[in-house]
């Protein structure tokens, strides 16, 4: 509430009235992320209870292609890394092209992640590991698919941000939006690390 503290130095808004507004919005977004994390947590829990429910169908050892998973992990973490640079350039340089360049890196990397993931889904389909086959596969498709949908939604968001930066430049409002997008993007990384270790690594351990 107080105007004297710069609560979001990452946005570099200075000590303006916009600070309080940005604070409310960023805090609200944290709350949303928290609720979304509960959603993921529950789907993880359901996956946990269904890990053995393969009903004689394909199991973790059949659907886990560690090479592909490693590639996906690298691409998604790379995307987050690119986004960090976008945030930093937004803070230290008032050059829209610099920020946009890093956003493009993040987006390309995430899009590649989705393509590799889609190839995995296609392979599962061809080996008969479809969600209709067993409870385990239902939970697998739902959990990995939910994360993938979040990433796809993030890409749409990034497209909107790109358009807005092109149109308005790095205004306070856009800085606040990019900051929130960053929260979302890094949050999806953390969820992926959960999927990577709980679903795939633990599945073949």
């Amino acid at each position: 509430m107080s105007q004297e503290t710069n609560v979001h130095p990452g946005m570099n808004l200075g000590y303006t009235d916009g600070e309080h507004e940005a604070e409310v919005k960023v805090f609200g977004f944290w709350v949303f992320v928290m609720s979304d994390l509960v959603t993921f947590g529950l789907v993880f829990a359901i996956f946990g209870t269904m890990a053995g429910a393969t009903a004689g169908g394909p199991g973790p050892e059949d659907v886990t292609d560690l090479k592909s998973i490693a590639l996906q992990t690298a691409l998604l973490l790379g995307s987050s890394f690119g986004f960090s640079w976008a945030s930093l350039s937004m803070k230290y340089h008032d050059q829209r092209w610099r920020t946009l360049g890093w956003l493009a890196v993040a987006a390309t990397s995430a899009l590649s992640f989705l393509i590799v993931e889609a190839i995995d889904f296609r392979d599962w389909y061809h080996m008969g590991a479809v969600p209709q086959r067993s409870g385990y596969l239902s939970a697998l498709w739902a959990l990995v698919g939910l994360h993938g949908l979040h990433v796809a939604g993030g890409l749409v968001w990034m497209a909107a941000m790109t358009g807005q930066i092109l149109r308005y430049g790095l205004t306070d409002q856009i800085k606040s939006r990019v900051t929130r997008m960053g929260l979302y993007w890094h949050f999806l990384d953390i969820v992926w690390i959960g999927i990577f270790s709980m679903v795939f690594l633990a599945g073949v351990a």
Partner: protein, 695 residues
């Protein structure tokens, strides 16, 4: 192109309106009749809006507004519309059970199952939830000294999503029918194998879509309370209603995801053949029961906590005393919120857990009664030696005290797994949850309406009509639901379509009589409203403080201007307004006026409501083109919208000054009225405070 490409699986046979003509019977007359009442009611509203030329008024003043006060009123209106349906169903259900001896009832068993499913769904999600959300909407910003919610547009969108859920349940009345598996909709009974649809699909989409709305409401309220409080209002200087609202909001944020997850998994099972909750191929129904009640039990407290907040404000105001034990009440509220996440399993003690797990959850359930007990003592101590005015809210409070305590005790009985095994799935349970929800939540809401209606509309509700209605509610409740404890103990299973034991009959008749009294009580609310509107001049309280209130919302005119406060108030203590009055200097005037920026009206909420209703309807009936169009339209709308600066309306300082000074002048011209004349035309909303001693 085939018809199924356009209409999915929707066919003429699904038109419930025509059932009575196709196969005339009492059963189809009731279902078709209900459908016709809804359709004709909707047509009547449309005709009235057109004839009276009110479309523009509806659109500009209500549907596109982002004013938290109007949004709150719309939630409560929605609650009443849906309550009309819920109560009608309740009366039909009691009639059914009174005639169900040896299977002689007048409705089909299928219809009966549909009735108890819709009744529960409607009452919990589209009556109780809109009521509490409406109250929190109206009161939070006024009580914490803010101009609006933290996210006004999101607030409107939440309302739109709630409307979507209600619309889908209402549409099911005329098209295809609702599900038959109870409000909890346990699979596999509601799975695709046993019930291909459309009933369970209606349930899933109305619950999931309105659930998003509730989650966003919780988020909005929590952020508003955390970040928008007036300067000086520390957490322990917040009005106690805001504390209960904060706890409810936290519950909404954490408890709605399990419902969403359960609903969407159920949808995946039904639409795409997944195996989350099916009987075969590794599906596990217990996952559903756990997910549902991880939401379901916190939900109970989501509903009841704001009512506790209302009762707390009520006792302090109408006993003219400071709330006794504010801090303990706050701690009790927080404890309830936290513990409510650790008791969900008591909803299915009989479903195969080990005794030690049952014991753990039984103990947790009994523990949650402790903070609730603290609250009851806090209210009693507040009333103790207060100058109590026995107005309508206090009548509701009296009913609440006695009846809710009975309901609470039956809850403690049920917390014991051994006893629970004996009475589970009997009418005892029906008696218990009606006993806590009706005298707890609904009495709180109606008491609250009597208190805050004058704030919203500038005139009081008629006192005698209100009191009679309150007594009808109390008597009607007692007659309808207390007998169900007895038949429950005698072994009458809930939801059963027929019974063979003639010993149940007398209880069923008492219960049926009670149901008609409740119907009369419900009508009494509208009679009260009608009488009050007719006498609104003598009941007018435009000056804003008819009850000698204690919190900031009473320090505004009634109804408050769209900007709530001319300048954001400075707060130095709990019960800020009471303190000012006790010190003899209320209505502090601003040194200077400034322009006020308010968010402009937007159609975002209506866009969301229309597109998500289309989406839910399309997914229910497998109309894939419509589902795709609705989903794409929704995303495209927000994508494009994000490119435009959100407009504001500026209220010039001079206008703020004019409105405020007119109010202050009226206050000075009016003789303050003491509490003995609270209930007569001399009360214009300027209270001669009774608090100098009591505070």
């Amino acid at each position: 192109m085939e018809m199924t490409d356009i209409f999915g699986r929707l066919a003429w046979a699904d038109l419930v309106l025509l059932d009575v003509f196709r196969s005339p019977s009492v059963d189809t007359a009731v279902s078709s009749g209900a459908a016709w009442i809804m359709v004709l009611g909707a047509v009547a509203v449309v005709v009235w809006l057109t004839v009276a030329g009110r479309w523009g008024w509806l659109w500009r003043d209500w549907l596109t507004t982002v004013d938290h006060k109007k949004i709150g009123i719309m939630y409560i209106t929605l609650g009443f519309i849906m309550m009309a349906r819920g109560i009608a169903e309740g009366v039909v259900m009691r009639s059914y059970q009174a005639t169900a001896y040896q299977g002689g009832a007048f409705l089909s068993e299928e219809h009966w199952a549909e009735l108890f499913s819709t009744h529960g769904t409607v009452m919990i999600f589209f009556v109780a939830m809109p009521f509490i959300t409406g109250f929190m909407n109206y009161l939070i910003p006024l009580q914490i000294g803010a101009r609006d919610m933290a996210f006004p547009v999101l607030n409107q969108i939440s309302l739109g999503l709630t409307g979507t859920g209600a619309a889908l349940v209402m549409i099911s009345l005329a098209l295809g029918g609702f599900e038959t598996g109870g409000w909890t909709a346990y699979p596999p009974f509601t799975g695709a194998d046993f019930d291909p649809g459309p009933g369970p699909d209606y349930w899933v989409w109305s619950i999931v879509l309105s659930g998003f709305g509730s989650m966003f409401s919780g988020l909005n309220f929590a952020v508003t309370i955390y970040k928008m409080r007036a300067p000086g209002m520390d957490y322990l200087k917040m009005p106690v209603f805001c504390w209960t609202a904060l706890c409810t909001s936290i519950l909404l944020i954490f408890a709605l995801p399990p419902l969403t997850v359960a609903g969407l998994m159920q949808a995946l099972d039904r639409l795409l053949g997944f195996h989350f909750f099916t009987n075969d191929l590794g599906g596990n129904m217990m996952n559903y029961a756990n997910l549902f009640w991880m939401f379901g039990h916190p939900e109970v407290y989501i509903l009841i906590l704001p009512a506790y907040g209302i009762f707390s404000e009520l006792t302090a105001t109408f006993a003219a005393k400071r709330l006794y034990g504010y801090t303990s009440l706050v701690m009790a509220t927080m404890s309830i919120a936290v513990i409510s996440f650790g008791v969900w399993l008591h909803h299915f003690f009989t479903m195969g857990q080990s005794p030690s797990i049952n014991a753990a959850f039984g103990i947790a359930t009994a523990i949650i009664a402790v903070p609730t007990g603290v609250k009851v003592y806090v209210w009693m101590a507040t009333l103790w030696r207060g100058r109590i005015r026995m107005t309508t809210p206090m009548v509701y409070m009296t009913g609440f005290f006695i009846l809710f305590t009975i309901g609470g005790f039956s809850g403690i009985i049920l917390a014991n797994p051994a006893i629970n095994w004996q009475v589970h799935n009997t009418q005892f349970i029906v008696a218990h949850f009606h006993n806590v929800l009706l005298p707890g939540l609904i009495f709180g809401i109606f008491a609250g309406i009597h208190i805050w209606f004058p704030k919203a509309y500038g005139f009081r509700l008629h006192e005698r009509a209100g009191t009679i209605t309150a007594i009808l509610w109390i008597v009607g409740f007692a007659m309808t639901f207390l007998p169900l404890y007895a038949v429950g103990l005698l072994g009458y299973p809930r939801r059963s379509a027929a019974f063979d034991d003639p010993a149940f009959l007398p209880y069923m008749y008492v219960s049926l009589t009670g149901a008609f009294i409740l119907l009369a009580a419900f009508c009494g609310l509208f009679v009260t409203l009608g009488i009050s509107i007719r006498n609104r001049d003598s009941l007018a309280v435009p000056l804003g403080d008819p009850w000698d209130g204690r919190t900031l919302e009473w320090a505004t005119p009634s109804p408050p201007p769209p900007w709530n406060f001319p300048v954001i108030p400075q707060v130095s203590s709990l019960d800020a307004f009471a303190k000012e009055k006790a010190e003899g200097k209320p209505y502090v005037q601003p040194a200077e006026y400034r322009d006020i920026e308010l968010p402009a009206p937007t159609s975002a909420g209506m866009v969301v409501m229309v597109s998500t209703t289309a989406l839910g309807f399309a997914l229910t009936w497998w109309i894939w083109w419509l589902a795709a169009a609705a989903a794409f339209g929704l995303v495209a709308y927000f994508f494009v919208r994000s490119f435009f600066e959100y407009p504001h309306v500026v209220i010039p300082a001079i206008e703020v000054q004019r409105v405020n000074e007119a109010w202050i002048e009226a206050l000075h011209l009016c003789t303050p009225v003491n509490r003995d004349h609270e209930d007569d035309p001399r009360n214009r909303g300027h209270a001669a405070t009774d608090m100098a001693i009591a505070s």
